[in-house]
């Protein structure tokens, strides 16, 4: 962003911390952008004539006589059809060697959608993965994260979901992405021939952490352009939101704010909600769906970041390695899609809700049987049957390499039930049992 003529240049910085600097200036608007020796910064506090700036690139090497110019606007992104297929950094500048985008300049982090203008999400997003489609069905306009330990293959699963989801545009917001993972996404999208509908805003581990704070807003401003102006269905992938929250805590710490739980800022909930709530189904047909990644430490979901996220998002997806079949499955107990009720049994077959619940309940019985077995107790005949069932259920439905239609998932579910259980053991409404219970049994 080039400095414009006739701008006042300030050269007397009064205070420098690791992420912020302060100076005397007047006529400055809150949240306005500035450049400090060419580094982008944003106004975070004004007291009288003392203005505090948060420097996204860090304050390393910033001298007290640095040149500061105010840009008279908050962060913006130029939007247009040309965004498609391009890679940008956290400031919205191209990093793929291509030309700058020509188009309308929009403020990022814009206003919220009026809740009465939202439409209730009702379009099912099929992924072919039974652990998702059968048990935790996704709906367009939903926001849902993967809760995963860093060693789990969440980037692979997310890329698979993104490509199968049939969205008009896929927008990747990468925060603290390792260069390898960044190249992975690029390659997968390229191989699938999908690059022309992908837009990426990437902050890698090589970039300063505070820059990450701009990434979700950039990605979502681009998403709003396609969803509102072009009525497209847009899928936004945000990875990794834990690193985003870490950047928030760095800044609030530098601002001398009193930390709340887990040294996170007290406003963490609102900060995350502002991002996730951009997921919406517009009445005009466009939609923004957000699939994010929140990495956990040792599976602990009581930590502030996953905890606050869970209260904001419409469910969460857990991946886990099932040692019985040595494959990664979508954990049916801990995963949840809150919006599934809007589509299952409505957009899908009538037996979907009850079959889903029966399978999970029996899988839970198997888990109990397993605990009994591990504790050295004798298993009943019923326990034995649940264990056989659990293995088949895991292999034929929960494993993430399953790729079938929802009707096939339900049929597989019924045949697993019929193979291992009696009708009265499955607890399904009689009318459905009469209709769908496989006849051969």
């Amino acid at each position: 962003m080039a400095t414009k003529a006739f701008q006042k240049i300030y050269t007397k910085i009064t205070q420098i911390t690791k992420a912020t600097c302060s100076l005397k200036a007047t006529g400055i608007g809150n949240e306005e952008l500035a450049e400090v020796n060419g580094r982008l910064a944003q106004v975070v506090k004004i007291i009288g004539d003392e203005v505090t700036l948060q420097i996204f690139g860090g304050t390393e090497g910033i001298p007290t006589n640095a040149e500061v110019t105010f840009l008279g606007k908050s962060p913006t992104l130029k939007v247009g059809e040309q965004l498609a297929g391009r890679f940008f950094n956290a400031y919205g500048d191209p990093i793929d060697g291509g030309p700058q985008i020509e188009g309308e300049e929009r403020e990022i982090g814009g206003p919220s959608v009026n809740p009465v203008r939202r439409k209730q999400p009702s379009e099912l997003i099929a992924t072919g993965i039974a652990g998702i489609d059968l048990n935790n069905t996704l709906v367009s306009g939903q926001k849902i994260p993967f809760f995963a330990d860093p060693d789990q293959p969440f980037n692979q699963v997310m890329a698979m979901v993104a490509l199968r989801a049939k969205a008009d545009k896929i927008i990747l917001g990468g925060m603290g992405l390792t260069n390898d993972d960044y190249l992975f996404y690029r390659q997968v999208f390229d191989n699938a021939g999908a690059l022309d509908r992908i837009i990426s805003f990437v902050n890698t581990t090589e970039n300063p952490p505070v820059e990450r704070l701009l990434v979700p807003d950039m990605a979502l401003t681009a998403a709003e352009y396609f969803a509102v102006d072009k009525n497209e269905s847009v899928l936004v992938l945000l990875t990794d939101m834990t690193l985003y929250a870490d950047a928030l805590s760095i800044v609030s710490n530098r601002m001398d704010q009193i930390p709340s739980k887990d040294s996170m800022p007290g406003s963490l909930y609102s900060d995350l909600a502002k991002i996730y709530e951009k997921a919406v189904q517009f009445p005009s047909g466009g939609s923004i769906t957000i699939i994010a990644v929140t990495t956990l430490s040792g599976g602990d979901i009581t930590h502030s970041i996953p905890d606050n996220t869970g209260y904001i998002t419409e469910g969460q997806l857990f991946l886990r390695r099932d040692t019985d079949i040595s494959k990664v499955i979508v954990d049916p107990f801990r995963s949840l899609s809150r919006l599934k009720q809007l589509v299952i049994g409505i957009k899908t077959r009538e037996d979907h809700p009850q079959v889903m619940n029966a399978l999970i309940r029996l899988f839970a019985d198997a888990a109990n049987a397993k605990t009994k077995m591990e504790n050295g107790f004798d298993l009943s005949e019923y326990d034995q049957r649940t264990l056989t069932f659990a293995k088949e259920y895991s292999r034929n439905l929960l494993a993430i390499d399953v790729n079938i239609s929802i009707d096939e998932m339900l049929d597989r579910g019924w045949s697993l039930l019929a193979k291992n259980f009696k009708k009265e053991e499955v607890g399904i409404r009689q009318a459905l049992v009469d209709k769908y219970w496989p006849k051969s049994n």
Binding site: N30, S112, V116, Q142, S267, P283, S304, F333, T371
Partner: protein, 585 residues
């Protein structure tokens, strides 16, 4: 002349304003920036500096921007036409706003100024009246909306004149009162009230005692809430808080339901917007939306108005209570409200309490819950505000400050349990840890005996004992193994499972099972307790689970069938045969 001021400092949505005259705590002011007026509330004053929390984004606000003080606290407008509306936390009518996105500084009037109301006077000239006295009524969505003497008035007044039966809009003069000095006071159908003050235009607030039916068995049967009672639902995410809250707001036997969606997901409110205009009120047959008011301040809407939203909702509830109506108010979630308090306390650099919450959190919560209640109005009629709040404990830990403070204030505790939710035992309310203090009220006991007989409370207590015993046995089986305990233990476990599966668990998405009227709850509990009191004979424990699963399956099919229908009776007869197989005569 009203006080004016200039912006002196900006820290996110906390703004320091230098005022040129007197200001008061909680006074409302408007900050003008780039042609837009932003509403704000004073939360601290030091010298001439007023610290205000702005209800909107402060992006672009500059030092020196002009501020106008209004001289009053945050108020809501009360009058006919509130029902069915969708407001934000500051009572702006969301439907009147233009465009898909919320615009900063877009304030819309909460009522319809053109609509003509069918006015029927209730008072006559010469009547002596006080604040809250009913002057007239207009029909609003099937409810008799009372036009009342403004709550702000003190002392006695006399009705000098009142207009006759006819059609009037809310701004037309409908009556004139005179005070004892002979001063005239013209009235319209509307009045204003500051939200942070409780409306106290009633004679007395006795202990509540009438059951408020919710149709949810685990509440009505096990831990009932009463008209004018208070309750709260804490639970980790994913345990079904919202589904339970929606079920209660759809089914509860209330005249008016006020829902404060406070800092929660927008799509949950959209669900209400979409469903309520379609669904029928099971008690009146009218559309649910007609009895509902929604205060939507979702998590992405400004934090400061999130705090205001629960007060706005409570004030509207109290307004309808003063008309002699049964009001149910739900707030989802009060934790978000507490977090809004925390964000502001943090910016004010107050010394923090536990988890950085403000020190007076407990007092603020207790004060809020105390606004609910069953009241005798000045004219002897009764009205009630029942309040149920949800709490979203951080990390699912019930020892955190919001849950602990709420526990001190609310009389019913519905603890949602992760492990019950994990095994899909919905509603996932833990039957043992949860409680309703109203069960101990002799007033309630007397009421329920009259309603469904004196055996009820002992039977409920017996069911609770069986559940508790079942839980203990299940723990022992986990330790000792199935064959390490006597057969009798298995029987105890499975009897408690019958109560769990048939009474406690309920399918909120099944048209029939979702709502169980009290008489049906009584029938089913009696049925279940009859089975629990039978002796069965088994040789080995392995036969027990299969047998009891058949009993449970039959009882559940009864739950899924229309009460006393052919199917219902069919399953009941089948059940009798199953019982005969093993019953000890």
């Amino acid at each position: 002349m009203s006080t004016k001021g200039k912006v002196k400092g900006i820290i996110a949505n906390l703004v320091i304003v230098e005022a040129d005259g007197p200001v008061s705590q909680n006074e409302i002011c408007y900050l003008e920036t780039m042609g837009t007026k932003l509403m704000a509330e004073i939360i601290k004053v030091i010298g001439a500096n007023a610290y205000v929390q702005v209800f909107e984004s402060t992006r672009g606000l500059k030092i020196g921007d002009v501020v106008e003080f209004t001289g009053h606290m945050l108020e809501v407008v009360l009058g006919p036409g509130i029902l069915s509306r969708n407001y934000d936390g500051l009572q702006n009518d969301l439907d009147k706003m233009e465009g898909v996105f919320l615009k900063r500084g877009d304030y819309t009037y909460p009522l319809d100024v053109d609509k003509l109301w069918d006015f029927t006077p209730l008072a006559i000239p010469g009547d002596e009246v006080v604040a809250g006295s009913w002057l007239a009524q207009v029909p609003e969505n099937g409810q008799p909306h009372k036009i009342m003497v403004p709550f702000v008035l003190n002392g006695k007044y006399t009705v000098k004149s009142i207009v006759g039966k006819g059609q009037y809009n809310i701004n037309e003069q409908i009556a004139v009162l005179i005070d004892h000095d002979g001063n005239e006071l013209p009235l319209t159908m509307i009045q204003k009230w500051p939200v942070k003050k409780a409306i106290k235009a009633y004679r007395e607030k006795p202990r509540p005692f009438r059951l408020l039916e919710t149709g949810v068995r685990i509440i009505d049967t096990i831990n009932p809430i009463v008209e004018g009672g208070t309750g709260f639902i804490p639970g980790p995410f994913g345990t079904g808080k919202t589904v339970l809250q929606h079920a209660i707001s759809k089914q509860a036997e209330a005249d008016i339901v006020v829902i404060a969606a406070c800092g929660e997901r927008a799509n949950e409110v959209v669900e209400i917007f979409t469903e309520f205009p379609e669904l029928e009120d099971p008690h009146t047959g009218r559309k649910l939306m007609e009895r509902t008011v929604i205060i939507a301040n979702t998590s992405n809407m400004p934090v400061a108005s999130r705090e205001a939203s629960v007060y706005t909702a409570m004030t509207i509830s109290e307004y309808y209570r003063s008309m002699g109506l049964k009001v149910l108010m739900m707030a989802d979630s009060t934790s978000r409200w507490a977090q809004a308090l925390r964000e502001m306390s943090n910016r004010l650099e107050e010394l923090p309490g536990q988890d950085a919450f403000p020190m007076d959190l407990s007092a603020i919560i207790a004060n809020f819950y105390s606004r609910a209640g069953y009241v005798f109005l000045n004219n002897g009629k009764t009205g009630s505000v029942t309040f149920i709040g949800t709490v979203s404990p951080a990390g699912g830990n019930l020892k955190e400050p919001v849950t602990e403070s709420t526990k001190k204030a609310a009389r019913c505790f519905y603890a949602l349990q992760q492990s019950r939710a994990d095994s899909k035992r919905y509603p996932a309310i833990n039957p043992i840890d949860s409680y309703s203090k109203y069960l101990e009220y002799p007033e309630f006991e007397e009421y329920i005996e009259k309603r469904i007989g004196s055996k009820w409370i002992p039977m409920v207590n017996e069911a609770k004992t069986i559940l508790q015993r079942g839980m203990e046995v299940s723990e022992q089986i986990d330790i000792l193994g199935d064959d390490g305990v006597p057969i009798d233990y298995h029987l105890k476990l499975w009897k408690s499972e019958i109560i769990d599966f048939v009474i406690l668990q309920q399918d909120a998405f099944d048209k029939i099972d979702m709502l169980t009227p009290l008489e049906r709850q009584q029938y089913m509990l009696e049925k279940v307790m009859e089975i629990c009191n039978l002796d069965f004979t088994f040789d080995t424990f392995t036969e027990i689970s299969g047998y009891f699963k058949r009993i449970i399956n039959n009882l559940r099919q009864m739950n899924y069938s229309d009460f006393e229908s052919e199917k219902f009776v069919g399953y009941e007869n089948e059940l009798k045969n199953i019982i005969k197989e093993r019953e000890v005569a």
